[in-house]
Amino acid sequence: MEMLSILRADGEYDPKLEPDLSDEDLVKMYRHLILVRKFNERGMALQRQGRIGFFIDSTGQEACQIGAAYALNSNDWVYPTYRDVGVCFLRGVPMKVIFDQLYANAQDYMKGRQLGVHWGYKEKNIVTIGSPIATQLVHAVGTAYAVKYKNHRVVTLTFFGDGATSQGEFHTALNFAGVFKLPIVFFCENNQYAISLPVRRQTASENIAMKAWSYGFEGTQVDGNDILAVYKAAKDTIDKARSGGGPTLIEGVTYRMGGHSTADDPSKYRNQSEVEMWKKRDPILRFRLYLMKKGLLSEQEDRKMQQEMENEVNETAKEAEKVAPPALSTMFSDVYEEMPWHLKEELDDLMKEGT
């Protein structure tokens, strides 16, 4: 299987493969790459400072998130993972909503019930992330089934990691998608690790993309640090899905530059030299070179944009930090549409007794 690659690490690119994107599109993509990078920096810092409890960094994987989600229509549905904050930004989730979740404050859409990085935003068809690995793949299949049943022209895109491909649901989801020929795209961000396990110990398969063949549809491998390639693969397969061509599996080959999460110490299981090698393949670096080469970005504009993003991120974090914690009653709502007697009783007791 050949890996789709358009924009190389040194900023050179294959003009024949360049996707059909306006200058505006390209700059918008870049802004979002920067935004994700800055957001990650801030998130890590906030956690280290003890201002938030937990964070998951996606540095190095920005091109996968932004490239793939850029190919969606606004009425499409997305099932992201905890590493795909860029998808949220790109689809228009207000940054404050993102930080409210990290702070688990009273304005958090998730009402302070989940660990940080478990976003979700109904208005933009972004389904709330959970922690169990791979469970969202079958949900995405159900959504795609419903879309097809209703004859809507909506595509469902779901993200997951290389580790997720080992779970039963990877298999059952792709199998259902193949049997029912659903309008869905499965995007695997192969970042080479599942916590400490390198992907060559995760599967003996030559690559992940080819696993699609077992389900009667196509798999395609792209350089996940090449946003043009990611966009192109996503756009083609999303279009195909939209026009009744059925599912596709995309493998974005990328790298998790940081630890698995703020609870992880990657030095236990990987060499710095490997990290250094991947640093040279940075997805933002090469896209910056590309934009400059095309005259769409100057050093100065870049610096300004970076500063803007940084400021926005920092200020929004501060705003979120000011918000009070959620009210006690939020612990009891949304278990069901209406509170059954036993929850009412527990809430009442808690309010009465104060403990």
Partner: protein, 324 residues
């Protein structure tokens, strides 16, 4: 009004609601062409098409998981799990996803999925076609758990379940799928969740049960009656929420409580009911609270009629409590 048995009622109710609501779809193993291994979905594919009555590949996790994703997009899926014994490949999807999606999303993504599943023993199904593990699901906040013991209730409870905006595990006691027929109104009616049914009024002992065991209990109540013990029999119908008020009101009157279920005793739902009563009405109690339950073993085959509490075992316990 037609005379229907329980499984016919399920079939009829699904059909009626599908005619009313185009968002209702059915999915599961062998539910389409074959009409379900118990014939609960017979004829539905012919009427509603294979897009709406979906024969799925053999994967319970994807059946429940896909139902979740369908619900998020606005459908009202009814998933069939062929036997409750085979629901466990979907357990992660049920307890981690289905039950928690509304909560974890801050109310943004409710998952109105009904999972129907035949359960319980007494059909010579052996080890893996007989179990009653309702307690797992009752202990899972975010789920509702329902089980009818009559065709009439089956319709009313199933319609309620299909119209909830919350996930419901709808347990069908397969032992009584075809053993009793009754008049089931053709019109639209619902039976609310959380309201028990008084099966027999009585004054000496409160007997609580659900599902197929309600009928075994009725036999035991008759036997007790012959001995001059008057038993009040309550069919819970919905296990979560459960009608604690009905139980407590009865116990306050009788002063004695017995709970009977097929499930294994330790950690069974009988324990919860006993605990609630021993917390709330202990001063009314004239005797120990006793449970009649399946033995704490896996489900056997050859000896299932001894494993499952027969009326005589319930009667024994009634006697003990009555003559305490």
């Amino acid at each position: 009004m037609a005379q229907l048995n329980l499984v016919q009622t399920v079939n009829q109710t699904l059909r009626e609601e599908m005619r009313r609501n185009p968002d209702v779809v059915i999915l599961g193993e062998d539910v389409g062409r074959n009409g379900g291994v118990f014939r609960a979905t017979e004829g539905l594919m012919d009427e509603f098409g294979q897009e709406r009555v979906i024969d799925t590949p053999l994967a319970e996790d994807a059946i429940v998981g896909a139902a979740i994703g369908m619900a998020l997009y606005g459908l009202h899926p009814v998933a069939e799990i062929q036997f409750l014994d085979f629901i466990y490949p979907a357990f992660n999807q049920i307890v981690s996803e289905l039950a928690k999606m509304r909560y974890r999303s801050g109310g943004q993504f409710p998952t109105h999925v009904v999972i129907r599943s035949p359960y319980g023993g007494g059909v010579k199904g052996g080890h893996y076609h007989s179990q009653s593990t309702e307690a797992y699901f009752i202990h899972t906040p975010g789920l509702y758990v329902v089980t009818p013991s009559t065709p009439y209730d089956a319709k009313g409870l199933l319609l309620t379940s299909m119209r909830m905006h919350d996930p419901v595990l709808f347990l069908e006691p397969k032992r009584i799928y075809r053993t009793l027929k009754e008049e089931v109104p053709e019109e639209d009616y619902t039976v609310p969740l959380g309201k028990a049914r008084l099966v027999r009024a009585g004054s000496d002992i409160t007997l609580v049960s659900w599902g197929a065991m309600v009928h075994t209990c009725k036999a035991a109540v008759d036997l007790a009656q012959n001995e001059g013990i008057s038993v009040e029999l309550i069919d819970l119908r919905s296990l979560l929420p459960f009608d604690l008020e009905a139980i407590l009101t009865s116990v306050k009157k009788t002063g004695r409580l017995v709970v009977a279920h097929e499930a294994t005793r330790i950690g069974g739902f009988g324990g919860e009911i006993a605990a609630q009563a021993s917390e709330r009405v202990i001063d009314y109690l004239k005797a120990p609270i006793m449970r009649v339950a399946g033995f704490d073993t896996p489900f056997p085959y050859a000896l299932e009629n001894i494993y499952l509490p027969p009326p005589e075992r319930i009667l024994n316990t009634i006697r003990k409590v009555a003559h305490y």
